[in-house]
Structures are given as structure tokens and as C-alpha cells.
């Protein structure tokens, strides 16, 4: 049964067989971008996948009614608000009316290619457990002329990162305009956080990652624009305020969706201190700033200290303990309350820095069998702290309650060690950084080797092969540049790799092939902006007259 309304045109698939796909809601918030909105809206209305509802939300900006009505398309709905209340509010307003099985997003200055929705629907309706999918986009650098029109200078697939949950918790690597997810996932993540002024997209993708893997389809399905001059993007302007930026990052990291989480296990941090004093406040502040993995802090304190505790601190659970109790006894009391699958025993004297717990935790989650735990960063014999599985800790404490935590773990056969280099998170990002640095130093051959190694061992194959091809070319190794760019072009040609292969072909005096590749690259650069839709042509799919 088709989910579309009677108003909507009958859903017709590109193969013309009339397959009825699920309804997709495209959300398009806009604010004072009347020049670009027609292009964005044309790209949404011109999708080959027809079973759509498109919500244009005017966030108190210039009047866009004429633009929207000029499309004369019953699938387009205008939410026309006079008051400027920000992007998250606009998205929530549209979500309140959306009925699609899936939600897709478009910004008012970006465009989707005609196959965007179809590609993502196919990904989500296919054999996958994922409830979220994303594609690749061109970052299109343009010169903005004095009359406001855009002159395209280059197109690059700058990010084509396979989904990595740990990275998603740390920072966003999925462009919102490339995203599609099931609408009912929002029942679990909650709506957009209207207290945020920037990083709104990451806040949502981060929360989605608590409940689903993301399917990455390596198809380029649209483009987002980056002026070579100063960007007018609101988010770019706001990111320049470092304090505001930090406030938003911290708010995102400390806000967790309601449990149960299907894809993530909470970390329980048991902080061992004697009394509530200034140093505890500092430690809590450090934890807040330097921990991106979702955690809940268990604070065993004497009752008089609990009454003095700031109750507004996020994710803190005070645990009443006897003033005369030992650290091990305090852990035992706290263990009766903790819910997370992983537990960090944190001595109050341990310096908290970036990755203090994520490094050992990543090793714990990804690489070890039961009965192994990992020392926290900066921990040592004089300030012992570790992260381990709750079941291992509970088993050890039950067996040897009279021993210290460390001794009880040893007694029950739980080995505590430091993580090895290859067990740490962000291996891919570390290598990528190294390769980028080599490129910046003009050491192209080294960069090429690193990119090729990453393509072979760290997923993200197409992306890394493209980068390796470019680095080989700059290093003068045209044979490898040609081989790799040809491989990429056979799967997913980009303007960049087409140009690269053409250069190599030209140097081999294969001019006909070079011309074909360059013509394809030129088409890719030239045909990006769809003509604004004016009047739909009856009976045609995705074809309009201007």
C-alpha cells in the first residue's frame, strides 16, 4: 500500500514500471536565500523518485511565497513563519507535519541530483539493518559574482568517510544534506535541539548513531557550495565564536537520548575521592570537557557532601557511602547502581586529558575477549585506574571483596594492560593526518604510499585511491596515478579523477581518450545547477519547462 496522499502524483519509479515506493519527506529550511532557493527546490522537485512531500520552511526571512507557488507542485508545502527561530526549530516544525517513512534534508543553497532520493531509498529498502543511509556530495567551490550568481571553479569529494561510530561520537563525518533516515527513529532520538546555535546536524547524527548503523552509499548525489570568498553560511560565521562553539560541543556531548540504546553501551565512571572539594569540581569539569563517549559519573560520597553537590551537573549520580569505607568498598556500593556495560575506576588524582578513557575503552570494546581490561591514560602504580567490563569487575569483587580492586581483579584472572597502538581509535584519522602533512610538505611519494596503505587496510577504498592517485601524479609517478585514477573512474568517476586520468593519457599521447575524459569532467562541472523549475510538464518525469 502506497503511503502517499491522494494529492500526491502517483509514485513512479525511474524504470517506469510504476513501483510504489515509500513516501519520503524532504525538509528544506530557508532564511534569506531567495536567489538560491529556486535551484534547491527545483532539485528536490525534480527527483526521479516521485513519492515525495517537500516542506519549505521560511524561518522568518524574505518572502518566498512566489518562489514556492511558481512550482505549482502539490507535493511542495510552505511553512511560512514571520519570526526567525533558527534552523532546529524549522526542522522540528517540518517534522511535526512530515508523514514520510523516510526523512531527507536539503539546505536552501545546495542541490540534490535527480537520483538522490532513489539511491538512498534503495539503500534503506534493500537488505540492510541500517535505518540511516548517506551518500557522497561534491563540495563545489565557486566565485560569487557581484550580482550574487555563482561561477563554479571546482568540485571535490572532500569527505567520503565510511561510517565510524566512535568518530561520530567525537565529531560529525556525515553531511546532513546527504542523509536519509527512518522517521520513526526520531521517536527514540528526540527532535532537534533548539538550544543549539551551531553543530545542529552533528547533534542529530550523533544521536542517530545510538540506535542504528549508517549505510554509506558511494554515489555522488548532490553538491554543497563553498564560496572561495568569505562564506555567508550562518554556521560558518557562528563557528568563529570559540566560546559559543565550545558551549555547543559540550551540550551535544552531554545530552544523551533515552535508553535503551541499540548500538551503544554506556560507560559508567566511578570517581574515587575522599571528600567533595574544589578538586572534585575540577575533575568533573575536565571529565565534561574531555570525554566524548557517553558516560554517567557515579560519585560515592558521604551524605553530607551529597547535599552540597551541584544537582545541575549532567549525568552525575551521587552514591551515599560510609565515611569510613575504603575505596574498594565504595566501588562495591557504586557497582550496585551502575547500568553501563563498561566501568572505569577513576582515582581522583588522575589527570584527565583528551582520550583519557576513549583510548583504553576502544581497545576494550573492539579487540579483547573477556577477562581483560585496560589502564586509563596517565594511570600507574601510584594512581591505579582502569576500564573494564562490568561483568568482570562484578565477578572479581564478589569473589574477593576483602581485597583492593586491583588485587581482586588479579585474583579472578582479569589481566589489566595498556592498549597497543593498533588497538587505539582513529587509526584512519591518524594516518590521514600524516598523509596530509606529507602533502603539505610537498612529500607526495610518502603521501601516496600512506593513502594506498589506507585504501588496502582501512576501508574508505575509493576515497583513499583517489587521494593516492593525486599524490602519485604530483610525485611524478604517472603510471600509478593512471592506474589508480582509472580504477576509481570505472566505479565512481569524479571531476578530479577524470582530470587526473586525462592528464596521464595525454602524456602517453592517447589524445582521443584524454578528450573523452575531459569532456566528461567538463560536463560534470557545467551541468551542476539545474534550471529553476517553473511549470511542470504534464506526464513527464522530472522534466520541466523554464
Amino acid at each position: 500500500m502506497c503511503e502517499g496522499s491522494l494529492q500526491n502524483p502517483p509514485p513512479i519509479s525511474p524504470d517506469g514500471r510504476g513501483r510504489c515506493g515509500p513516501l519520503v519527506s524532504i525538509l528544506l529550511p530557508t532564511y534569506n536565500r531567495c536567489r538560491y532557493l529556486p535551484y534547491a527546490l527545483a532539485s528536490a522537485a525534480g527527483q526521479t523518485y516521485r513519492n515525495l512531500e517537500i516542506f519549505v520552511v521560511n524561518d522568518g526571512g524574505h518572502d518566498v511565497r512566489d518562489i514556492v507557488h511558481s512550482f505549482n507542485d502539490p507535493r511542495i508545502h510552505l511553512i511560512d513563519r514571520r519570526e526567525n527561530r533558527g534552523k532546529p526549530h524549522s526542522l522540528n516544525e517540518a517534522l511535526g507535519r512530515a508523514r514520510g517513512k523516510y526523512i531527507a534534508y536539503l539546505d536552501d543553497d545546495d542541490v540534490h541530483y535527480p537520483h538522490h532520493v532513489q539511491v538512498l531509498v534503495d539503500a534503506l529498502e534493500g537488505p540492510t539493518d541500517c535505518q540511516v543511509a548517506y551518500s557522497d556530495l561534491y563540495k563545489t567551490y565557486c566565485h560569487v559574482r557581484s550580482d550574487g550568481t555563482r561561477e563554479i571553479r571546482s568540485k571535490h569529494v572532500e569527505i567520503s568517510r565510511d561510517f565510524d561510530r566512535f568518530m561520530m561520537l567525537y565529531f560529525n563525518h556525515v553531511l546532513h544534506v546527504s542523509l536519509m533516515h527512518r522517521r520513526d527513529l526520531l521517536d527514540r532520538t528526540g527532535l532537534y535541539n533548539e538550544d543549539l546555535s551551531i553543530l545542529i546536524d552533528w547533534d542529530m547524527t550523533r544521536r542517530l548513531a545510538f540506535f542504528s548503523d549508517f549505510h554509506h552509499t558511494h554515489v555522488i548525489t548532490g553538491e554543497f557550495y563553498s564560496p572561495l570568498e568569505e562564506s555567508d553560511r550562518i554556521s560558518v560565521q557562528r563557528r568563529k565564536d570559540s566560546r559559543e562553539y565550545l558551549r555547543n560541543v559540550l551540550a551535544i556531548r552531554t545530552t544523551h537520548p533515552p535508553k535503551p540504546w541499540d548500538k551503544l553501551d554506556e560507560l559508567s565512571v566511578i570517581l574515587l575521592v575522599d571528600r567533595l572539594d574544589q578538586s572534585v569540581a575540577q575533575t568533573c569539569g575536565c571529565l565534561w570537557r574531555h570525554t566524548f563517549y557517553p558516560y554517567r559519573l557515579y560519585l560515592p560520597l558521604v551524605p553530607s557532601d551529597i547535599s552540597r553537590l551541584n544537582s545541575e551537573m549532567p549525568n552525575v549520580a551521587p552514591i551515599a557511602v560510609d565515611p569510613r569505607s575504603s575505596p574498594a568498598e565504595r566501588v562495591d556500593v557504586a557497582l550496585q547502581s551502575v547500568e553501563g556495560s563498561y566501568v572505569a575506576i577513576l582515582p581522583g588524582t588522575l589527570p584527565i586529558e583528551e582520550m583519557w578513557v576513549e583510548n583504553p575503552l576502544h581497545a576494550l570494546i573492539h579487540t579483547v575477549p573477556d577477562r581483560e581490561g585496560f589502564l586509563l591514560e596517565n594511570a600507574g602504580p601510584d594512581r591505579w585506574g582502569a576500564v573494564l567490563k562490568r561483568v568482570d569487575l562484578q565477578r572479581a569483587r564478589s569473589a574477593s571483596p576483602h581485597l583492593s580492586v586491583e588485587a581482586s581483579l588479579t585474583a579472578s584472572g582479569v589481566r589489566i594492560r595498556r592498549p597497543r597502538q593498533e588497538e587505539l581509535p582513529f587509526q584512519f584519522d591518524t594516518l590521514l593526518h600524516q598523509a596530509r602533512m606529507a602533502e603539505a610538505d610537498g612529500d607526495w611519494a610518502v603521501a601516496a604510499r600512506v593513502f594506498e596503505h589506507m585504501a588496502a587496510h582501512h576501508h574508505n577504498e575509493l576515497w583513499m585511491k583517489s587521494l593516492a592517485a593525486g599524490a602519485h601524479f604530483d610525485a611524478g609517478n604517472h603510471v600509478e596515478a593512471g592506474r589508480l585514477s582509472r580504477q576509481v573512474n570505472q566505479v565512481r568517476p569524479t571531476v578530479e579523477t577524470l582530470l587526473l586520468e586525462a592528464k596521464v593519457r595525454r602524456r602517453r599521447r592517447d589524445f582521443e581518450a584524454a578528450i573523452r575524459l575531459l569532456q566528461q569532467a567538463e560536463r560534470g562541472l557545467r551541468d551542476s545547477l539545474p534550471a529553476p523549475v517553473r511549470v511542470p510538464v504534464t506526464g513527464s518525469q522530472g522534466q520541466y519547462e523554464n
Binding site: 571553479r153 572561495l228 602533502e439 578528450i515 575531459l518
Partner: protein
């Protein structure tokens, strides 16, 4: 950070479309499709107005279609945009050569080779003009320098052998031709010249 690498990346952001059009123009020029080449170069010039490349291309396409005045204008624009553009001086030299202004052409080829001694078009142009002017010393020097960098380039080896012979240095010509034929035994022009040189040596003998 301002390094070679980051500058290069920044340049790619700005000039990818320009580069596609310029490469395409160069390919069309090579296969003799000058109308398409002209279209590409004009578009490239509009995107990268400070780059001499498209004007060099426009000049080359104009030259190939016998439009010497258009070619000269385009090459002069390229020279103005980049006073060190060797290709632009080569183009101007070719324009002068077509007009049989050999002295001016000679000077322009020389200027081009001062900027880029690796420029094979300028080198062979200089060879042709030198033959017209019967003035060989300078071109011999440049051909020798070029061969040091590209030891197996038979076209330059042949030109140098011919110049040695014309300049009254048959022994050097003989050696050069023997080296050339060792690399390319079937080279007819070299064989004919070798026969001529050997004949001359016997007569001088």
C-alpha cells in the same frame, strides 16, 4: 601554514575548471581540432584571467589556422600576464618566423630558451631559423645543453649533427650520427646524412 602543499591545494580549489578547459584545449590543438580548442581556451581565459596558458593556446590555435595577427595579440597578452612565459615567446618567435622575420624570430627563440632551455619547440624553431640565417653557434650551444638533459632525443641529435656538418665540423657530426643510428638503426634521414658526411670527409681527406 603557508607551504607548497597547501598552496597547491588552494590552487586546485580555484583552478580545476580552468585546468579541465586548458587541458581539453591542448588536446584539441594536438589533434587539429582548432575550433574546439579555441572555444576551450576562451572559456579557460574567462575563468583564469590572470593565467597566461589559455592565451598561449589561443595563439597556437590561431597560428595553426594562419591567423598570424590574432596569434601575435594572444601571445603578447600571455607575455604581459607572465613576463617569464617561455611558451609565449616561442609563439611570438613562430609568428615572426612565419612572416620571414628571421632575425626577430631568432631573438625571440633565444629569449624563450633563456627562460626554459628544455623547450623543444623553441629549440627546433631556432634550428630552422639558424639554417635560414646560416648562423649556427648559438643554436649548437642550446642543442648541446638540451642533449645533456635528454641524451636519447634523436630529433635533436639529428639537428645537431646537421648543424655540425653545416658549421664545418664533420667529425663531430659523424660521431653524433653514429650515436643516433646506434639508438635508431632504421633512421633514413640519419643514414642519408651520414653518407653525405662520410663522402665529405673522404673528399677532404
Amino acid at each position: 601554514m603557508d607551504t607548497v602543499g597547501t598552496n597547491e591545494i588552494e590552487k586546485r580549489k580555484r583552478l580545476q575548471h580552468y585546468e579541465v578547459l586548458r587541458e581539453l584545449g591542448d588536446c584539441y590543438t594536438t589533434v587539429g581540432n582548432y575550433a574546439q580548442a579555441h572555444r576551450c581556451y576562451e572559456k579557460a581565459a574567462s575563468i583564469g584571467p590572470d593565467e597566461p596558458g589559455p592565451y598561449v593556446g589561443l595563439g597556437a590555435a590561431a597560428l595553426q589556422t594562419g591567423r598570424c595577427e590574432d596569434a601575435e595579440i594572444a601571445f603578447r597578452v600571455a607575455c604581459r600576464l607572465d613576463p617569464n612565459c617561455a611558451k609565449a615567446y616561442t609563439g611570438l618567435a613562430m609568428v615572426a618566423q612565419q612572416r620571414k622575420e628571421y632575425s626577430a624570430s631568432f631573438d625571440l627563440y633565444m629569449k624563450s630558451l633563456e627562460l626554459d632551455s628544455d623547450n623543444i619547440t623553441a629549440l627546433l624553431g631556432l634550428f630552422q631559423v639558424s639554417c635560414e640565417m646560416a648562423s649556427f653557434a648559438k643554436v649548437i650551444y642550446y642543442l648541446q645543453v638540451y642533449l645533456q638533459m635528454h641524451p636519447g632525443d634523436v630529433s635533436v641529435m639529428f639537428a645537431l649533427a646537421a648543424l655540425y656538418f653545416k658549421d664545418g665540423r664533420p667529425e663531430e657530426s659523424l660521431r653524433m650520427l653514429q650515436d643516433l643510428l646506434a639508438l635508431e638503426p632504421a633512421n633514413k634521414d640519419a643514414r642519408n646524412l651520414l653518407e653525405e658526411v662520410e663522402h665529405g670527409l673522404v673528399r677532404a681527406g
